[in-house]
């Protein structure tokens, strides 16, 4: 049988072919773009935040919490600020308001503290009321701040006032105790100074011990207020006050001891004993003191305990010794002043009796009269020249009717500087009158006017002659202008030309020199020395006054300064002529007798003015010249191998003798007066008030 074959095929079916995952790149691109935009926005935002923060800070900085009167003004933030700027600005502005509130409250607290000093409760009430009122008026935003700040300041100040009050009370107590101790020391000084006894067990000693105990108490109570050295200083000061007062008491009693009341030597003796007391305090020992001095000290109340260690340390002793030294100096000054016053009295008496006083005595007299400067004398000069009382009459007589050397205070008036100053003050004519009246004397026989130099230098004499000539002659301008012109002429570069112009030329058309002019102006017998002397002044005279007036001045001046003397060798005119140096007859007599006594010792028979003459030594000046004695041939007159010299020393000694005599008389008179006083005091002690006859 046939077999039927079947196709053996493989079965094929359509099946799902799976999934192709689409690309995510587009998604990623979109997301990246999103991130980019987001980041861009974030960055721009952050940048803008910074900008806005700065705007906020700037706005806050320009924001004023107070007005021009420093009063707080509550204002909103400036318009137009972003939220971030506002957030940044607000804390700063809040701080400003807080600070302003704090400042206001502190100021108010300070004011109230002054009003309620030492009263903490009063301050607290007043300040609390102020804080409450401030909080009510404050912007609500700052109300809490105002209350907090106020509470803090109130608490702090109240506590401070409490502390201050306690401190002040304690300090006042300390001050009171300190003042009391200081006052006790001063009282003790005054008590002893008033003459209280100073021995052990005396009231003064008890006061001293009490004050020492007060210092103990002060240290116990207020030791913390005192510096390390204060206690020691207080004790030292008290001891010095106590010891110093005792020393002063001794010195005062010493000065009052009867044996030291002798007007001539008593004060000197007292000064010596005081000096010994100083040495005792300085050395801390009485070993070196003479018994006689010790007796004086004991009589005055001094005891060895005063320098013992329980009263003084060595430094304090030296301090007291210094104080005693000052007391001694003061005593010496008083002594000197007394002596000076006594001397002035003697000088006054000498002058009033027509005597002559030395320049030192004249200076002392005028010092005592109160004329110690040119100004003081010049201001009083009108009264002196037209005296209204006895005192000024006496001074006038001394100046105008006496030939003693003038005191410095008068001579200084005529120096160039002072003349110029007086010219500026309008007092120059007065000064010139004074010069004329003090140096001009009418001759007894009426033959003319004599000049007494009275210790004024030749230069000043020439200067005054020039000035006087100007006043009496060409005066074409004020004295002020005169001095100005003189000063200008000194510095004028055309000086030489002007001088030549004034001097002119001689007959031969030749320029006259200043030397020739002086030759022609001076007397024919003028010496070369005289010519040389005036050559110094001639230029100024010609420039100031012209040749005619200058000639007149030179002639007059030459006869005042250079005098022809029969005693000067060769009989020439000289600045040093004895007739000029000793214008008083008495002085001239003394000089002649003195010189003759020297000549008597010479190897030969000489007589002054006959065969013995004088050659001046210019080194000693013209006021009190020194001369060499020579014969007719100008040969030195010898005594053995020694050339003989003479001077005005004898005149000076003679004047001193006269003064001494007057001084002794005055002292004698003082002794008499002192005895009268003692007698008067004794009568009072005895209850007899009758006057000593």
């Amino acid at each position: 049988m046939a077999e039927i074959k079947r196709l053996q095929s493989q079965q094929v079916f359509n099946k799902p072919i799976g999934i192709v995952q689409p690309s995510t790149s587009a998604v990623e691109a979109g997301r990246n773009l999103e991130r980019l935009g987001s980041q861009m926005m974030q960055r721009a935002f952050e940048a803008e935040v910074d900008v806005q923060k700065q705007k906020g800070i700037d706005a806050a900085r320009g924001f004023a919490a107070t007005n021009t009167d420093q009063e707080i003004v509550y204002r909103k933030l400036p318009q137009g600020l972003s939220k971030i700027a506002q957030r940044e600005a607000q804390p700063i502005i809040d701080k400003k308001y807080s600070a302003a509130l704090l400042s206001d409250m502190k100021a108010e607290a300070k004011k109230l503290r002054a009003d309620f000093d030492k009263d903490p409760d009063g301050f607290d009430n007043a300040f609390s009321a102020y804080v409450k009122k401030t909080a009510e008026l404050t912007d609500p935003r700052y109300k809490a701040i105002a209350i907090d700040v106020g509470a803090e300041i109130a608490g702090q100040n109240t506590a401070d006032i409490y502390a201050d009050k306690a401190e002040a009370d304690d300090a006042q107590d300390y001050k009171n105790m300190f003042d009391a101790i200081t006052s006790s020391g001063q009282d003790l000084e005054a008590f002893i100074g008033a003459g209280a006894p100073i021995h052990d067990g005396s009231v003064a000693h008890a006061k001293f011990m009490n004050t020492m105990r007060e210092i103990d108490e002060l240290v116990d109570l207020h030791g913390d207020r005192m510096s390390v050295t204060q206690e020691r200083n207080m004790r030292t000061n008290l001891k010095r006050q106590y010891g110093g007062a005792m020393a002063s008491s001794v010195v005062a009693k010493l000065q009052a001891l009867p044996e030291f009341q002798d007007p001539a030597f008593g004060a000197d003796m007292a000064a010596n004993v005081i000096n010994a007391l100083e040495q005792v305090y300085r050395s801390g020992s009485i070993d070196a003191i003479e018994p006689a001095v010790m007796k004086h000290l004991t009589d005055a109340g001094f005891s060895e305990r005063m320098i013992s260690g329980d009263v003084f340390d060595s430094e304090s002793r030296r301090v007291i010794a210094g104080d005693i030294s000052v007391m001694e100096n003061n005593f010496q000054e008083r002594l000197t002043a007394t002596k000076s016053a006594n001397q002035a009295g003697v000088t006054m008496r000498t002058l009033s009796e027509g005597g002559v006083a030395s320049q030192d005595h004249m200076n002392n007299l005028f010092d005592n009269l109160g004329y110690n400067s040119v100004e003081s004398l010049m201001n009083d000069l009108p009264n002196i020249l037209n005296p209204a009382n006895k005192e000024t009459q006496g001074i006038r007589n001394i100046l105008l009717h006496n030939n003693s050397d003038l005191p410095d205070v008068v001579r200084n008036i005529f120096t160039t500087d002072n003349l110029q100053r007086l010219a500026n003050n309008g007092q120059l004519p007065l000064a010139m009158d004074l010069f004329q009246q003090t140096t001009k004397r009418l001759n007894v026989d009426g033959s003319g006017v004599n000049t007494v130099q009275r210790g004024i230098s030749n230069d000043v004499m020439a200067e005054m002659a020039s000035l006087n000539a100007y006043r009496n002659g060409v005066k074409d301008a004020s004295f002020v202008e005169y001095f100005q012109r003189k000063g200008e002429l000194k510095r004028d570069p055309q000086r030489k030309e002007m001088l030549n112009s004034y001097l002119g030329s001689d007959g031969n058309n030749k320029q006259i020199t200043i030397g020739k002019f002086v030759d022609s102006a001076l007397p024919s017998d003028a010496t070369p020395e005289e010519k040389g002397y005036y050559l110094k002044y001639a230029e100024d005279l010609v420039l100031m006054h012209g040749t005619e007036k200058a000639t007149e001045i030179l002639e007059q001046s030459a006869n005042k300064v250079f005098v022809k003397s029969k005693f000067i060798s060769n009989n020439v005119r000289s600045r040093f002529a004895p007739e000029k140096a000793f214008p008083l007859r008495t002085d001239m007599d003394v000089f002649q007798v003195h010189t003759q006594s020297i000549l008597d010792t010479a190897d030969g028979d000489y007589k002054l003015g006959d065969n013995a003459f004088l050659i001046p030594d210019p080194r000693h000046g013209s006021v009190n010249p020194v001369y060499m004695l020579v014969d007719e041939n100008n040969m030195p007159i010898m005594s053995g191998s020694k050339p003989l010299l003479t001077s005005g020393q004898a005149v000076v000694e003679q004047r001193m003798k006269m003064n001494q005599k007057t001084s002794l008389e005055v002292r004698e008179q003082m002794r008499v007066e002192y005895q009268r006083r003692l007698q008067f005091g004794k009568q009072i002690d005895d209850g007899d008030f009758g006057f000593y006859p």
Binding site: R6, A29, N32, Q39, M41, A44, F45, Q52, K83
Partner: protein, 153 residues
């Protein structure tokens, strides 16, 4: 470019926000398209699965018909009557067996198609969700930009 740099910060912020929104929308749109593409493929797979199931069914029916034909032929060859019970029982058993296999295959095929269709629907939904998400993101960016600008202006 320089003009861009010279822009003020707020302007830059607005520009940045714009870029961010645009990028966000673009990303959503791209995701949506991608998911749609996946969905389309899944749907295509479902169709293929259905076609495959039908083809397998037809194959099984062919083989059953062939078997039955061969058995009928064999019965005829062997002079068996049409009411030969053994052949009938055998055929009946084959038919029953075929019906069981068909049933199982159909169920499996339906499950697979259903799953694939679900995957397609899910991809589409995912795409829509991505688009919606991009929209929300854009709105967020806009709000953020507005907030920041309002802080600095």
């Amino acid at each position: 470019m320089l003009q861009f740099l010279a822009m003020s910060n707020p302007a830059l912020m607005i520009a940045g926000a714009g870029l961010s929104i645009y990028g966000s929308m673009q990303a959503g749109k791209a995701e949506q398209q991608r998911q749609r593409s996946i969905a389309a493929q899944q749907e295509q797979n479902a169709k293929f699965e259905q076609l495959s199931a039908m083809q397998a069914h037809n194959e099984r029916q062919d083989r059953l018909a062939t078997l039955i034909g061969m058995n009928e032929t064999s019965r005829a060859v062997n002079n068996r009557g049409s009411n030969d019970r053994s052949i009938a029982a055998l055929t009946k058993a084959e038919r029953k067996k075929s019906a069981t296999v068909d049933g199982r295959a159909r169920t499996q095929s339906m499950l697979t198609i259903s799953r694939t269709k679900f995957a397609a629907a899910d991809a589409r939904a995912s795409g829509n969700q991505a688009m919606r998400s991009a929209l929300f993101q854009s709105v967020n960016t806009g709000i953020q930009a507005y907030d920041r600008i309002s802080q600095v202006s």
